[in-house]
């Protein structure tokens, strides 16, 4: 799994590539937590390169979303691939998380 973080004004774009499973999720959790603790609470996860996630990846997303919202921010998802979307739907996450077709729409959603 690869993680790349780009700052766009007040929004941190976290681009993830690869699989989020029991061996890789701790790294993603740590990076997202580091973003929040450094004051970047408006996050966009670009998941276009993520072909797989298990429940451990969902725990990462949910924990981060809760953490950002406590500080007035959010974690919003973009470019969600079909298999990852299926996992989000199975867990009912699509009703509590904001999903966007592309990164630009997700970033713009913070200024609307």
């Amino acid at each position: 799994m690869k993680i790349e973080i780009n700052q766009r004004e007040q929004v941190s774009i976290v681009c993830v590539t690869g699989s989020v499973d029991g061996t890789t999720a701790p790294m993603l959790t740590a990076e997202l937590h580091a973003c929040v603790t450094s004051g970047n609470v408006c996050l966009v996860a670009d998941l276009g390169g993520v072909d797989y996630t298990s429940s451990v990846g969902l725990r990462t997303l949910l924990a981060t979303m809760k953490e950002t919202r406590v500080h007035g921010g959010d974690l919003r998802l973009s470019n969600v691939t079909p298999h990852v979307l299926k996992v989000l739907e199975l867990s009912g996450f699509t009703s509590i998380m904001k999903l966007y077709d592309d990164v630009e729409s997700a970033v713009d959603s913070y200024t609307v």
């Binding site: 499973d21 061996t23 797989y52 725990r59 949910l62 199975l90 867990s91």
Partner: protein
């Protein structure tokens, strides 16, 4: 380490900790592709196998380390994945389905593993082993593969 009984027909991967997951997933994918499993079936099997494997290590063994023999029997019609462990007896049928309609504030950070397993495969069979431990089997039915699809398979023998 407690020895586990040999299983017949198919391939067995003897795992012991979470760092064995990538090798297990590679074996699962390779074995299932050989019988023509499509991407959706592969994804479902991968999800179910990881959730079971993780649960055994996280909740079955103190410290997250212990013997888990994962046996894969892939046929054209179905894939059977069995897990034999030496952990305390645990029937996954006793795990309730999580509530999916609760607001964010009430969401628990976890608890979806067995829910995913039930959704991803067609059957979940469990029985305690006489010598102690559990034998859990997942069954995933595969969609029929047409002759033209078989001819296009890069893994055709």
């Amino acid at each position: 380490m407690t020895s586990l009984p040999p299983l017949t027909d198919g391939i067995t991967f003897n795992a012991a900790c979470m760092s064995d997951l990538p090798a297990l997933m590679s074996m699962l994918e390779r074995t299932c592709r050989q019988v023509g499993a499509d991407e959706d079936a592969l994804f479902s099997l991968r999800l179910a196998v990881e959730e079971v494997f993780t649960n055994i290590l996280d909740y079955g063994y103190p410290g997250g380390t212990g013997p888990v023999a994962v046996h894969i029997d892939a046929q054209a019609e179905q894939v059977r994945v069995s897990f034999a462990d030496a952990a305390p007896c645990f029937d996954p049928a006793t795990v309730p389905t999580p509530r999916l309609d609760v607001p964010l504030e009430e969401r628990q950070v976890g608890g979806w593993g067995w829910h995913f397993v039930r959704q991803a495969v067609d059957r979940v069979e469990w029985q305690p082993r006489e010598a102690g431990g559990n034998l859990l089997t997942l069954v995933k039915l595969l969609a029929p593969v047409s002759l033209s699809q078989q001819g296009a398979s890069p893994n055709e023998n």
